[in-house]
């Protein structure tokens, strides 16, 4: 290449003053000095320490629990079990759909039956963690061990052991009479699948299996709860959604939300896994039983692996047909995903995403939500979509290979656009699928020859593209004006990766003031309006929008106030770039700073509010180009070069957008190559440590080059599309395609670890 190559491009087509810049985050100083308060850092007077007793069996009936010896241990203050839950209604809803109460509570403290190893059964509060741990070993639980079901196909088998005798397969909310491990069957149909395949010149069909993987956040779950003497409950926790915790504690304990305050502590990663609530209700119950003392519970790493997360293993068949010219004419998918112990795998989302990148006339997609004896799955970045893309993006690659068409060209030829009807029915609004594919095709990486091998292995290149819908949901924000010309911004979204900055930037842009003059803070549930989870790629989109609304509210009030001071009609006043001026009289102008100093003498404080539940959610496409080196003698894969291209709509803070793209892609690489729950036959996870659950280290990766594509989302004031998730959808498939190109092995199993690659090469 003769031209100098510059990584990390932003393909912007609209510029703003603050939006699109890269300021330092407001919580930065605290986070580089160790001062930031994460949940486990909290110290309170009279603090007790809680620990959870967990099932050693994957599937068993609980015959009895005896706490006598544990309670006799010096320092033990209280024990709780499912028996401590009060009577309540049958269905729980804490903001994320309905779930039967017995399932919801069962995953907090199991009653009568345990459905996975690591499931919580009881909890102890004691004067120290060591005493609490010792007490756990003194709790005597008698089990009747049952056969375990560990994969979706096992769970769907005719003679499979049944996990729930009250679970009957649902089909689009139709309750069937079949008592089964299949909790739900989804289906999407468009066109005529048989006719479609009849018109195909080339058909590829493959079956894929993927292992259970964990979100892998570095900070274990934690909670401190105080059930106060006045029966108010205060919960401090590292969570993706303080209001979700409030609702979940309310539902579990049958306490009204007004009696519960949740203070969101700083959070050490979540990726979807810190939406669900685990020990919080038990901590509150322990606090009450221990005499209204605060109780802190922090999970160990093994508890995190065995008791929280993960995202499902899956069993999927994908079949696609195309004409010799490269037109994909039919696509069929059969996706079965493991829900874990209770219904609710992300197969519905997987089914909606599997072919979303393409314009295909004839599609049938079936999805099965299957309960198995593993931890109940939780959201993990674009839940369900990576599994589906691992299958579909390999099949399409094989079609390109058979037709001898460049794999990006084939994707471009069939790419979904505005107006393309999706298999689940709706038509795509303005989307950036084509723009992402084009940016990939034109990228220096794709235009360059294969990266040379580092260790004498074989090299190959692969691509993939993925889609995620993103979600909207509720957000609230208040902005108050300080008399020195700055504003305080209060919002309710846990800041998991710099969102304080991106939200503050929305307000600064509206008010025409500098980013540094907006001081954002994340408030507790008593201090800000209802705000849904930091998840679903919604935070910058929706809470940013709430900040935009609140700032516009402030702006309107500032205009009113200036008009009052000047004695003119408010309609004749405007505010631009932080200056208020009369549209007609050039003499009348005043900076925001000057006006703010006069507020107390001219009518009192100005407080703006924003509350949104937006539609206009912009889905995001993201693609990857990867060069790998595979050692054909050992099957070891190294990532030599990696480029990720994503449509951000508008990157509010490009560095944090790049961070999402890089982070999501690297989680995808880990998922692709090594991460998995390695189970024994009786359902124990053999590798619940960071030693053997092998997440990528810095030495396993090259720089992750990024291209931010900006196809403005017409639904958002600045064109934002959420960027937190789409980036994890297709790295796995891109790596698989690269391995295929390097050593000829088409990988139908994930992880594609060295042993799996060798097995494929030997077969």
């Amino acid at each position: 290449m003769t031209t100098t190559y510059e990584p990390n491009k932003v393909l912007s087509n609209k510029e703003f003053k603050v939006v699109g810049t890269r300021p330092v985050r407001p919580d930065g100083a605290d986070k580089v000095t160790g001062r930031a308060q994460y949940g486990a850092d909290l110290q309170l007077t009279g603090l007790l320490y809680g620990k959870t007793l967990r099932s050693p069996h994957a599937h068993a009936n609980i015959k009895s629990i005896d706490f006598k010896k544990a309670l006799a241990l010096e320092g033990v203050k209280a024990v709780v079990s499912a028996k401590d839950f009060p009577e309540t209604k049958d269905t729980a809803n804490y903001g994320l759909g309905d779930s039967p109460m017995n399932y919801f509570r069962g995953n907090i403290l199991a009653d009568k039956k345990v459905l996975y190893k690591g499931q919580a059964i009881a909890a102890v509060a004691a004067s120290s963690v060591h005493v609490a741990e010792a007490a756990l070993s003194l709790i005597d639980v008698k089990y009747e061990v049952l056969d375990a079901v560990l994969t979706a196909p096992e769970g769907m088998a005719k003679d499979a052991p049944i996990l729930h005798d009250d679970l009957f397969t649902k089909e689009f909310e139709k309750q069937t009479k079949v008592n089964s491990n299949i909790a739900e069957h989804f289906q999407h149909k468009m066109g005529d699948i048989d006719e479609g395949f009849a018109g195909a010149d080339v058909i590829v069909e493959r079956t894929f299996d993927t292992a259970t993987v964990h979100q892998g956040y570095i900070e274990p779950h934690n909670v401190t709860a105080l059930w106060n003497d006045d029966d108010r409950i205060h919960v401090w926790t590292s969570t993706q959604g303080a209001f979700t915790v409030r609702a979940a504690v309310s539902e579990a304990l049958a306490v009204p939300v007004s009696k519960i305050k949740v203070t969101p502590m700083e959070i050490g990663g979540g990726f979807g896994g810190k939406i669900n609530v685990y020990e919080d209700p038990a901590a509150a119950l322990l606090s009450k039983k221990a005499g209204h003392k605060p109780v802190k519970m922090v999970m160990t790493r093994a508890e995190v692996f065995e008791g929280t997360g993960p995202t499902p293993g899956s069993h999927m068949t994908v079949k696609m047909g195309a004409t010799n010219e490269g037109k994909i004419v039919a696509a069929q998918a059969n996706l079965a995903m493991e829900a874990g112990a209770y219904p609710g795998s992300p197969v519905g989302a997987g089914a909606m995403c599997v072919f979303t990148a393409y314009d295909i006339a004839n599609v049938t997609i079936d999805g099965y939500d299957v309960v198995v004896n593993k931890p109940k799955t939780a959201a993990y970045r674009a839940p369900g979509a990576p599994n589906a893309a691992f299958a579909a993006e390999q099949v399409i690659d094989e079609i390109a290979e058979k037709l001898n068409i460049d794999p990006l060209e084939l994707r471009l030829q069939n790419a979904a656009k505005e107006g393309t009807r999706r298999a689940d029915g709706p038509i795509h609004p303005r989307i950036g699928c084509v723009e992402v594919l084009e940016a990939m095709k034109e990228h220096h990486h794709y235009q360059s020859p294969l990266t040379p091998a580092k260790n004498g292995g074989k090299v190959g290149r692969g691509v993939g593209i993925g889609f995620w819908f993103n979600i909207g949901m509720q957000s609230a924000c208040n902005i108050s004006v300080n008399n020195d010309g700055t504003v305080n911004l209060v919002e309710g979204s846990t800041d998991i990766g710099g969102s304080r900055a991106s939200i503050a930037m929305h307000a600064a842009e509206v008010l025409g003031i500098s980013y540094e003059d907006v001081k954002p803070q994340v408030a507790d549930t008593d201090s800000v309006g209802y705000t849904a989870i930091t998840g679903g790629s919604r935070t910058t989109f929706a809470t940013g929008w709430a900040a935009y609304e609140a700032a516009n509210d402030v702006k309107a009030q500032l205009i009113d106030r200036a008009a009052t001071i000047w004695g003119v009609d408010p309609d004749s006043v405007e505010m631009e770039e932080g200056v208020l001026r009369s549209k007609t009289d050039t003499e009348l102008n005043m900076s925001f700073k000057d006006l703010s100093a006069q507020l107390n003498d001219t009518g009192g404080p100005i407080v703006g509010r924003g509350a949104v539940d937006p539609s206009g959610i912009g889905g995001s496409f993201c693609g990857q180009i990867v060069d790998v080196e595979v050692d054909p003698e050992t099957g070891k894969t190294d990532i030599l070069r990696f480029t990720v291209v994503q449509d951000a709509g508008k990157a509010i803070h490009p560095s944090y957008v790049e961070g999402q793209m890089q982070g999501g892609s690297v989680q995808g690489i880990g998922w692709a190559l090594n991460e998995e729950y390695y189970y024994s036959e009786d359902g124990r996870m053999n590798n619940p440590t960071f030693l053997d659950y092998r997440m990528p280290t810095s030495l396993d990766l090259p720089m992750i080059d990024t291209v931010i594509v900006e196809v403005a989302n017409p639904g958002h004031p600045y064109g934002v599309r959420g960027v937190g998730e789409a980036n994890i959808v297709s790295p796995q498939a891109a790596v698989a395609n690269a391995i295929k190109s390097a050593v000829g092995a088409r990988m139908e199993k994930m992880p594609m670890n060295p042993a799996a690659i060798m097995e494929q090469l030997w077969s």
């Binding site: 809803n93 994320l96 759909g97 309905d98 089909e171 689009f172 909310e173 139709k174 069957h185 989804f186 289906q187 999407h188 149909k189 979100q215 979540g270 990726f271 979807g272 896994g273 939406i275 992300p346 519905g348 989302a349 089914a351 909606m352 959201a379 993990y380 970045r381 674009a382 839940p383 689940d424 029915g425 709706p426 038509i427 795509h428 609004p429 995620w468 819908f469 993103n470 979600i471 909207g472 949901m473 509720q474 998840g535 679903g536 790629s537 919604r538 539940d613 937006p614 539609s615 206009g616 959610i617 639904g715 937190g724 998730e725």
Partner: protein
């Protein structure tokens, strides 16, 4: 009239029809109208006055944050979808 797309697993209630033209200015009215001709639809979709927790409705491709209260225009497309979460 709005174009209402019937999820494939609910088509048993609509005599196999995949798409119906239904009169109504909100999703609530649409469902009421559907229920008239195809009894059982309401029970599948609604829980009391609102959509079931695990169902979304999209009008012209936009998932409605207000469920059955969403306005429906003449020629709108209405889709019932499984609700999605996210990480």
């Amino acid at each position: 009239m709005a174009k209402v797309f019937i999820p494939s697993l609910m088509q048993e209630l609509t005599d196999g029809q995949t798409q119906l033209d239904i009169q109504g200015s909100t999703v609530r009215e649409i469902i009421k109208e559907l229920e008239q001709s195809y009894p059982g639809v309401k029970d599948r979709l609604m829980d009391g006055f609102k959509l079931k927790g695990n169902i979304n409705v999209a009008v012209d491709g936009e998932v409605s944050p207000i469920g059955v209260l969403a306005k429906v225009q003449e020629n709108s497309e209405v889709h019932f979808l499984p609700a999605l979460g996210g990480g």
